[in-house]
Amino acid sequence: MHRNLSARLLSLITLFFIGVGVVNSSLAGDNAMPPPLPIEEIGRVESLPASYPEDWVLVDESSFMNMYGGKVIILDIAETSHPKRMKGMMSKSMLGNFTQSSARGEFYIIESFHERGARGKKFDVLVIYDKQTLKVIKEIEWPTDRLQSLPERYSMALSEDQSLLYVSNFNPAASFTVFDLDSREIVETIGTPGCVLTYPTGERSVTSICSNGGLLTTVLDKKGNLKARERMAPFFDTDSSPIFEWPVIVNGRAHFPSFHGEMHVIDFSGDVARYIEKWSLVSEKERQGNWRPGGIALTDRDDRGRLYIIMQPDGKEGTQTHGGSQVWVFDLKTKQRLRIIDIPNWAVSLAVTRGSNPKLVITNGSMNLDIFSANDGQFIQTVSDFNNITPLLIHKSY
């Protein structure tokens, strides 16, 4: 626990109480009674462990009813005592985007401001936080408009060695900016015409998803500058067979579910993205019942590489982001469904925590969090009343 005692504060306070009726407690002992409570330090601020426990999550609270007030809230979702759940928060203005480095002990938020609320010059800032103190390490004014949208898991990403940060831009021309986390300087902003988001690929490549149903891989050199661009041919039709931009990446393979329940597998382990195959999440019978993936952050994985995905019955055009009533768990190697977890309060988004006893965290229809044991689907508790408005994306902690 970090103790930030400031002698200056104490003397200020002492000055303040001259004449207010205070007796220093050390002078007021009484033999028949315990001594009075001592004067306490003023100015103490807590800090967090270097390694967060497995059951902690980072809630991307986009605050859709009040976009000035977005935040990332650090929560222990296994804690049963409400007052002990919230560990801290960071602000995140105007649909700010969040990612983190497990190796560096840093959080990254890119956010936007006007000079005066909704008025005046608008500017974007990348903010680097220390994960133990939640203090700002550095702020970097951004050279262009960062992507401002409902939260995306891959609006930012790190290179494999966690030395480069990729940040999506959109104004509405699409690009991403490479940021060097060692020097803490911007390397380069690279256009991705018609393609968005930053899926980390290989050692130093970035794959984006394109309006023609294909992919674009941008290959970087050692310093993070543009080296080559390669486009992958379209593998889906954005009108008739669209996919969700929420892949689960396991062992370098990205699994993109389609609106209708197909799973496209792309190899992200090399320098350039390569299409591998597709298979179906749904049986013929389930397809007839229009069981489909649905939700905002509708996919995640556990440490063993199992896929968790929100499914909705009676899906149709227009319901794709509305969430679902079940979570299906798949073994991605055998392509077999391992389990169906019924979600009683509806599921809009999900996340799975780390470790051998992972928790399934569901953003439910009331915008509270329902917590389940991921291994057996057992309901554990509902977590609410943590200043949550629209907690649309949950991140694991490290």
Binding site: N66, K122, Q148, G295, E317
Partner: protein
């Protein structure tokens, strides 16, 4: 801008409280924007030399209004604006996403531009999510997940309009 169906339930609760019609909320879209008995408001306009008047009908404060087929956000009709104009103190976005909606009166499909009104703060009522033919942000022309106030003086989203910008070639 977009939210999600079930979030409606929370808002719908306060609507139910307001109208004392708790339990009737079968159709969340209607319930949300308070359209218990939808008045049919024929909107007639002078056409460009055509013999009859162009027609549409429906309640622009209802989420079920035909123009809202791909909308996702707060309806400006409830925010001090209308279905095709912005509340005082805001400005209309210059770029946006589009939808194709069928006018049930003339049977034609129209291209609807969902221009956001930008500035001040979020309107925060009459949340309406239809999402028909809405696509993820890789199809930005059809995506309501993007903050389309990005081209405006203020990047702060307030509410969404639904403006007829032309006939669609086909359904």
């Amino acid at each position: 801008m977009k939210l999600f169906d079930r979030f409606f339930e929370r808002s719908a609760r306060s609507v139910a409280q307001r109208s004392s019609r708790r339990g009737l909320l079968k159709n969340l879209g209607v319930a949300l924007v308070g359209g218990a008995s939808i008045p049919l408001l024929p909107v007639a306009r002078a056409s460009q030399g055509a013999p009859q008047k162009p027609v549409e009908e429906g309640d622009p404060s209802s989420c079920e209004y035909w123009r809202y087929c791909a909308v996702d956000g707060f309806l400006c009709q409830c925010c001090g604006g209308t279905y095709n104009s912005c509340p005082p103190g805001t400005e209309m976005s210059t770029i946006t996403w589009i939808g194709t909606c069928r006018n049930p009166v003339d049977g034609r499909s129209y291209v609807i531009s969902y221009n956001d009104c930008c500035g001040v703060n979020q309107c925060g009522t009459c949340l309406c999510q239809r999402d028909e033919r809405d696509r993820p942000i890789y199809r930005s022309d059809k995506s309501n997940d993007i903050n389309w106030c990005l081209g405006s003086t203020s990047y702060v989203y307030n509410c969404s309009t639904a403006i007829v910008v032309g006939l669609a070639f086909e359904e």
